[in-house]
Symmetry: C2
Subunit: 332 residues, 2 copies
């Protein structure tokens, strides 16, 4: 028996903001006559994340990234039919694999999902998955957040930022968030952020003079660019920490910006790059508390769901317009 | 009895490279009829350092900075006549003080020098003073240098860099240094640097491809700018550490540069700002091993001596041409 899989491939390298012409949808026949050890995974949800813009990929490659799937057919006792899995299979609807636990960028290519109870498994792409884990390890390990810290989160209504802010509140920090619309800011207030501001309406200098007159202990940065330059130059405490987690304002540029060295020196700052690659073997350690907090109602989330594999590029491109509140997932 | 003191004052704020017109030499009468507790300090050497370019100073202020002096007249039992002192009195020849241990930027305004034996006390402006201490604490505490690290030092023939490289060798690191002339590079080889290159003749990418094909563990950065951008983007190991100690290439600019966020994120770098302000209460802890290493011949130094308080601005300005090898001091 054979089925048709759909997959998106890269047709030309990105230049500036990704466009629909960078992608092409292809079909391929997938045989379900599995050899010993093989499994066939049917995609339920695929993820679009900003980091995909800057990850090396060759023309002709299938678009990569996290995917939630279900084992449709199995010839492998470790992954019986019906198993829900988090994989790195990307933007494709059906995949046959002979070695599900082969190493991939963020650890094994395929992981079994922990028990989500009544919660939707798509959370494993969001607040209990890579973005949530990025927030968890980035804030607590790279950022060494502790009770009493004044924490600033940029792109706070995004998939990572919204979790950062909530964990910081759980840990007893004062949390300031920036976002780009009134609706996002309203949501952040609901999430318990102490202060929020719409950076399109209130300049970062003005907002932080008001909300953090004594300075920022820990800046969890998802945006970089001019916003972060102002934060570093004018608002960090001496020996402040900056978790450099994302630079979405720079992903589509030729990587020029303003120098931050004088601020780093003058205030003895520590800038710490954050990538989940470093924590790839610690997924379960982070997923347990995240899942627990979601079940207890302490960690809230929003998903923006786009329906259909055909719309994956569109969902991806929308990230760079700031269109999303919370996590964007593509439902297959 | 009264004597004439000479002092340099700032006549207008710096814009771009400092010029002679930013400074004016003034004279003032200093009475040596001291009140109880007062001391009169006669300058022996005054220091010029790059950081003075970016420190806030008002028009009319006396140029600040480290000074080695001798107590000429004393009415204070703690500082008897003849005591050699390291002070923050700057570019002036004679100073009367009522409270020598008042707090200044880098700790007490006046410190007694430890016993230098036969060594010249001017070393307390260089490899056993603030630049040496910056190297010591910056490399070992902020940079956490350890045996086996591949360490890159920019401006390696400067007052800080030349000490960084030698301490790194003492600690068992492999050390690469960059400098701007053949003469400087030759000196670095004499000091025991494993690899040196003249960045004006060999591009940093080319040099580091040859000398550090496996990447840099620890970059002790004194220059910032394009040089450092290339190091961060192309030559750091994952989880590499960067001690941001100086940014001499940016001090005379309007502080624009290139963005380093993508490298910080992609390689999970840690950038750590370094300023001696943080270590102001730990001078003696650092001066002891530095002095010991000098006495044992393990820590070598060069001084560029300019004679006469009248030439202090000229000596300062020469820093930004890269004219110095080792430490520049002005002998009074």
């Amino acid at each position: 028996m054979s089925l048709t899989a759909k997959k998106w491939i890269l047709t030309k390298q990105f230049a500036g903001v990704p466009k629909l012409e960078n992608f092409k949808l292809e079909e391929e026949a997938v045989s379900l006559a599995l050899k010993p050890g093989e499994i066939a995974i049917e995609a339920l949800y695929v993820s679009v994340d900003p980091y995909m813009r800057i990850f090396p990929l060759n023309v002709g490659d299938t678009l990569f990234g996290d995917q939630i799937g279900r084992v449709k057919v199995s010839n492998n006792a470790d992954f019986p039919e019906g198993t829900l899995v988090l994989s790195f299979l990307g933007w494709r609807t059906l995949t046959v694999l002979s070695n599900p636990e082969a190493p991939a960028v963020f650890g094994p290519l395929v992981r079994k999902l922990p028990d989500f109870g009544d919660l939707p498994p798509s959370l494993a792409l969001g607040c209990v998955g890579m973005p949530g884990l990025t927030a968890y390890f980035g804030l607590l390990e790279r950022g060494e957040a502790k009770a009493g810290d004044v924490v600033l989160v940029s792109a706070a209504a995004g998939a990572v930022g919204s979790v950062v802010g909530q964990i910081a509140k759980i840990k007893g920090c004062t949390v300031i968030g920036s976002a780009g619309s009134k609706e996002k800011c309203d949501w952040l207030k609901e999430l318990g952020f102490d202060h929020v501001f719409n950076y399109k309406e209130t300049a970062v200098d003005e907002a932080l003079k008001q909300f953090a007159p004594g300075g920022i202990d820990l800046y969890f940065d998802n945006v970089a660019g001019d916003f972060s330059f102002a934060v570093l130059q004018n608002h960090m405490k001496v020996r402040g920490r900056v978790v450099c987690c994302g630079a979405i304002s720079e992903y589509n540029t030729d990587n020029t910006g303003r120098s931050i060295y004088l601020s780093v020196i003058g205030k003895m700052l520590e800038l710490r790059g954050m990538s989940m690659v470093e924590y790839k073997n610690r997924y379960s350690e982070g997923m347990s508390p995240l899942l627990q907090w979601v079940k207890e109602g302490k960690l809230k989330h929003r998903e923006t769901i786009t329906e259909g594999i055909e719309r994956a590029p569109e969902a991806f491109i929308s990230l760079f317009r700031g269109a999303n509140t919370g996590k964007i997932v593509v439902k297959i």
